[in-house]
Symmetry: C2
Subunit: 417 residues, 2 copies
Amino acid sequence: MGSKRTDRRGFLKGGAALAGGLTLGAVEPAAAQTPASGASGAMIKGSKELIAYGDRSRFVTSVRIPHGGRPSPDAFGLVFHVATPLQDLVGVITPSSLHYTATTRGSFIPDIDPREHRLMIHGMVDRPLIFTLEDLKRLPSVTRLHFIECAGNRSTPRAKTVQESHGLTSCAEWTGVLLSTLLKEAGVKGGASWFVAEGAEEVKGASSMPIAKAMDDCLVCYGMNGEAVRPQQGFPLRLMVPGFEGIFSTKYLRRIKLVDRYYMNYNDYGHLREDAKDAALGYQWGPKSVITFPSAGQQLPGRGFYEISGLAWSGGGAVRRVEISTDGGKKWKDAEIRGTAYRMAHTRFASQWNWDGTETELLSRCTDELGQVQPTRAQAAKFFNVPLDPSFNVPGLDNIIQPWRVASDGTVHNGHA
Amino acid sequence: MGSKRTDRRGFLKGGAALAGGLTLGAVEPAAAQTPASGASGAMIKGSKELIAYGDRSRFVTSVRIPHGGRPSPDAFGLVFHVATPLQDLVGVITPSSLHYTATTRGSFIPDIDPREHRLMIHGMVDRPLIFTLEDLKRLPSVTRLHFIECAGNRSTPRAKTVQESHGLTSCAEWTGVLLSTLLKEAGVKGGASWFVAEGAEEVKGASSMPIAKAMDDCLVCYGMNGEAVRPQQGFPLRLMVPGFEGIFSTKYLRRIKLVDRYYMNYNDYGHLREDAKDAALGYQWGPKSVITFPSAGQQLPGRGFYEISGLAWSGGGAVRRVEISTDGGKKWKDAEIRGTAYRMAHTRFASQWNWDGTETELLSRCTDELGQVQPTRAQAAKFFNVPLDPSFNVPGLDNIIQPWRVASDGTVHNGHA
């Protein structure tokens, strides 16, 4: 107890921490009446627009960036993959304006009038049904925190920031009707074992998923972070398929068809498997985590106390444990889980670290409620029986451990080589 | 079990619900290939701005409104109280752009450069300290869901919508450093029993609060809903004082002074009490709830199934129970709590209701973890020993039960008379 208390209270007091750590000044009472405020008399004048719908500070300039160096929008005005600035975010909610977005290839974002939009449930059901938005909003709703993550989210040696290596995942509070509620109303016929979800965008993005997932935890969402789902996230309706790779969370949802077998659809180009069972199992994200501070591209001002902070999640359920190493993987200790670890949701972890100013490597490792443990890049290469070199990419969903190398000058770099 | 199953599956099947309720069409398989999508080929073209920072649909027009009919901005360009459109929101997160805002009287919003901003902790401490934003972000952080509510949030007969009666409360995910962490570093001197928190705006809004509250759960916040605190919420630093009336959650926080007694400050104009102890106790919100759907100004399309939905909260801790009455208070039944009921946070409740088309009154009643029960307007008038007439306003913090009257034509009105 005594030593723990010392640990917790020593951020600024310890000689070591004060000497090389925080830039704190002990001020005289006489100076007390005039701390700098940064305000300098400048004011933001109230306007009708700002009263109706507020905006962020002009000093806050964090933005999403196109993923993988692809032009976005490209020559045709198309938007492909745009990554969330995880390095700038706190807590577990991704602001809707910064939520990653990935557009079905070759498609603009449809400009949908919600009064005209319909969701049809048909195929192997007793009673095909068509719902308006107003119909859906009258039904029992649920609100859940869930991450979405694109299959293209890859921790490669090329990535120069956590936004580049991990920015194709975000987390929001989703509100809607359980898909199982709608399917029970329609009546699922015996023999129905898969369903196809289709969006209203130009290319009619569609995916096949097992009906067991539909009856478990899929949501037909009209709300996101308290307000309507944003157009880049599928306004007015998005199917949320918790824990599966992002493309299954069908945007602009307009049709769900119950079928008796796996059907190949437009969005399934990445999911071709000889065995349908294998295809279904391959959809789900494994346990994953990444340190967002300190992360590549950031600069530590000097030795001393820091809070290491990051996000952990799993397609297999809730995060049970996150471990941190500050010495390249020799020793590990449990990070603190901040707040509630929800199923298939980003979970904030943190750990206290006193940096002595020497070069080192920071790692985080997630274990989920199923007991699955996040692997290293070397373990993944060994598992797939391929050479561990800079060209190695994890086949399928990449959930490998991300090392961040802290140089003695305080710069932080991608530790993959 | 059998009857419960029937209840849960009967939204659309029951003759009564189908006859007067949801506008559902059982479609032929032949029509299945062409459900209306509302898209009509119109597209939102990708732009650099939308990629960097997304926006909501042009069909979503929900906005904040000036409170109490006051011009906002007024002739001087000042913004006073602006209310959240609770009737349009789902879940428990208020989008930051729609979070209610109340400006200290006579003050513009300061345009603060966060690099120049400082927080000073001084007065009865062993070691006065000045923190930059970067200093604070290196310290152990917490993330918590908390409501804020303005003392001016009043359920009066005049209110024509829930936005007018209850829109001066909102809820967000707040991230920052516990004030107790900072005070322990500064060292609290014996005899210090109150603290004064001061903001950097023009009028230097300041409030006195008991030190017990500081050491309990106050947060010095730099984050809100995942990103930086918004200017209308106190960018770059806001003191979060969970459960107390909103004015104590000091915006543009620049100074905390520890003192040995209650000091009268600019923001204390509403808190004059003979007895300092009474003043301190009067700060905290009681248990409160309101139905957001159906609520005044909304229109039910006809008889049939609806999900009644609303928000409950308390300054005294977590919501333990919410009861609903659909017959003007004769019978009550427990509503379902959706998600986790956090301490001093909006909690979403819901209840299933089959409206028979006759005039009635809907009520909700919150009980918090302390066992405190939300009173009716009549109970409040009796408690304060004043006549129950349209001019009656609850002195201090108003947490009375809000009745919504549903007319036989489906229009909904304020039930206070």
